[in-house]
């Protein structure tokens, strides 16, 4: 009796946990997060340490094999995953926050100078290939930490969130309940927060997932070019090393391909969660 009313109250949650895509996505996502959290405790080695002979394929001692110099690939991958996820998370959060604010303000004041200006800026940032800005910024920064890299990535990732949020805000702001709030003399901030943001929650959540996805890809791309954090190890760096040492030509697929496979699975999982949630929040898609 009690459980039934719980599901009634949280209908979306019910559809979420009964959606196969969401379940599969969450399962994969949690597994990879756990790998990054627990992984470093499972390995007896340090990521810079020469853990054994070089050129070893995956085995019981070295789960993902070793590099040419004898570093343990599994250790490097789990430490690298931590760094990459952290950058992706920080950058994704910052970018979403910027995008939300710009989108709300621009959508709410649509047609006014503030909107025109913000949209111009957004369009400009959307056209410029972000990797090009990222490369040029990183190239001139001699020292880059995790926070610096997150800020750089976030600076170029926010525009499409802003655009998506703006169009949602536009469609919401002329609804009657928003007009009512306006007539009642509520402050703009309160209207944005209680009427518009609250109604966009599901949408914003999905935008956030995609944003996280994009920032991870962007930061791994930078790391792969050797423009990631200057200290420590990251997923992209592991792969860059593999390419620089010609790992694939030497037949060491475990060094070059496993880190990327984990990354790809992470992104697939986020896509699954996203499309699954789309079906959850949008009943029309659910019937299909």
């Amino acid at each position: 009796m009690k459980t039934k009313s719980f599901w009634k109250k949280h209908e979306n949650l019910y559809f979420a946990v009964s959606n196969k895509k969401v379940l599969l996505g969450v399962f994969m996502f949690v597994a990879i997060i756990l790998l990054s959290l627990v992984g470093p405790y499972l390995t007896p080695y340090d990521y810079e340490e020469f853990a054994g002979a070089g050129y070893l394929p995956p085995s019981k001692d070295h789960w993902f094999g070793t590099t040419l110099m004898g570093r343990d690939v599994f250790t490097r991958v789990v430490y690298g995953l931590r760094s990459t996820l952290l950058v992706g998370f920080l950058a994704g959060t910052i970018a979403s926050a910027i995008g939300l604010v710009v989108g709300f303000v621009s959508g709410y004041y649509s047609g006014k100078a503030a909107d025109e200006g913000l949209m111009m800026l957004t369009n400009v940032f959307m056209v410029i290939p972000s990797l090009a800005i990222l490369i040029i910024l990183s190239a001139y920064l001699p020292y880059r930490g995790i926070v610096t890299q997150s800020l750089i990535v976030a600076a170029t990732a926010w525009p499409w969130t802003a655009r998506a949020v703006r169009s949602q805000t536009l469609s919401l702001k002329n609804q009657e309940f928003v007009n009512l709030s306006r007539i009642s003399g509520l402050s703009t901030f309160k209207i944005l927060r209680d009427d518009i943001a609250a109604n966009m929650f599901s949408y914003v959540f999905m935008v956030y997932i995609l944003q996280f996805n994009g920032t991870i890809l962007a930061s791994v791309g930078l790391e792969f070019l050797g423009l990631g954090p200057t200290r420590g190890v990251s997923l992209g760096l592991v792969m860059q090393n593999a390419v620089n040492w010609n790992a694939l030509h030497l037949g060491m697929w475990w060094w070059g391909l496993i880190p990327g496979l984990i990354l790809t699975l992470l992104i697939v999982s986020l896509y699954f969660i996203n499309t699954g949630l789309d079906e959850v929040f949008n009943p029309r898609l659910r019937e299909m």
């Binding site: 111009m120 369009n123 400009v124 959307m126 056209v127 410029i128 290939p129 972000s130 990797l131 090009a132 800005i133 490369i135 040029i136 910024l137 190239a139 001139y140 920064l141 001699p142 499409w160 890809l217 962007a218 791994v220 791309g221 792969f224 070019l225 050797g226 423009l227 792969m239 593999a242 390419v243 694939l248 030509h249 037949g251 697929w253 070059g256 391909l257 990327g260 496979l261 990354l263 790809t264 992104i267 697939v268 896509y271 699954f272 029309r284 299909m288």
Partner: protein, 329 residues
């Protein structure tokens, strides 16, 4: 129609202005003072003194106030003077870029066009056929989730190393002389194929997923149901859905051009394919600042141009824009 195009053009002009300003700004205001280190490197080069005098005083004009430096930067840009490469001294940056751009186009153009067309077709099939859908969707998701450079590594490993069909780096063999003979064209094609395949496959997934969702959405609309009740064939209904679904896919293409070109930069690095991206990354490794800036500028010009082409295509296929019923940008 005119309003649509002029609004788009305004955005591109502002973007170009912004990009050039950024290009000027970053080396000057970023910690580490790259210009000073540049000067130091030039001083050790043969003939460096002359360059110091002619180029730096002109372009950077370090003794002048900032605004004058900025105007000077624009002036030399319009003269087509992007400076001189340090690593390939004394080649002008402009010449290096002219050679590199060709390689970008021969990879990007076919891969974008083909993946867009084939991806949309496959997506449409997937959208109406449940069996095909169940099989294809995981593949599409996997393709679209793959980072370009990782997928490039996979392609390189499978086709280049395990099967050994294609060479894994550079645009043509070192023993070949570029020319219009079959031996060179065949060699060039073999080198071209894997970067192309990478770009093609990764993009394919995204278009297919997009079109599949559009078709499913369109077959549930009232007009489709009405046609169904009139007894129209599934094929006819699907064709109408396809035509409606194609517009958002063109907009999608415009939006993802930046990502695609970013992807090509990474793909070129994996295959050492000498386009702008590869040139830029090499320039970064060797701190060849003029070359970095030149590549950056041309990458952006390329995106702007591509965006403009997509805008025109959109205008041609969307009757509402053609007859200026709507001017949404």
């Amino acid at each position: 129609m005119g309003r649509y195009l002029s609004k788009k053009l305004a955005i591109y002009l502002v973007t170009f202005f912004f990009a050039v300003t950024l290009n000027w700004l970053i080396p000057r205001f970023v910690p580490g003072d790259p210009i000073t280190s540049l000067l130091a490197r030039f001083a050790s080069l043969e003939g460096g003194k002359e360059i110091l005098q002619s180029y730096f005083v002109q372009t950077f004009g370090l003794d002048k106030p900032l605004y004058a430096q900025y105007i000077g930067f624009w002036r030399s840009l319009f003269r087509g003077d992007l400076g001189i490469s340090i690593t390939r001294y004394p080649a002008p940056v402009m010449d290096i870029i002219k050679d590199a751009v060709i390689y970008d186009y021969i990879i990007l153009l076919p891969s974008i066009v083909l993946s867009w067309i084939i991806g949309n077709k496959l997506g449409a099939v997937s959208g109406v056929n449940k069996k095909v859908d169940n099989f294809m969707m995981p593949v599409f998701y996997f393709l679209t989730s793959s980072p370009y450079f990782w997928f490039a590594l996979v392609v390189s490993y499978v086709f280049g190393i395990v099967l050994g069909i294609f060479p894994t780096s550079h645009a043509y063999s070192a023993t070949m002389r570029p020319g219009w003979n079959w031996a060179f064209i065949a060699d060039f094609f073999m080198h071209w194929f894997m970067p192309f395949l990478t770009m093609f496959l990764v993009q394919l997934g995204g278009w297919a997923i997009g079109m599949r969702n559009m078709i499913i959405y369109e077959t549930n609309t009232n007009y489709s149901k009405y046609m169904e009740s009139l007894g129209a064939s599934d094929k006819l209904i699907r064709n109408y859905g396809f035509r409606n679904g194609i517009l958002p896919q063109v907009t999608g293409l415009a939006i993802s051009l930046g990502t695609i070109i970013s992807g090509s930069v990474l793909t070129q690095v994996v295959f050492s394919y000498p386009g702008l991206g590869y040139t830029m990354v090499q320039a970064i490794k060797e701190s060849d600042y003029f070359l970095i800036q030149g590549c950056f500028l041309f990458l952006i010009l390329m995106v702007l141009l591509a965006n403009f082409v997509v805008d025109i295509v959109y205008m041609i296929i969307d009757p509402r824009v053609r007859h200026s019923y709507s001017g949404e940008v």
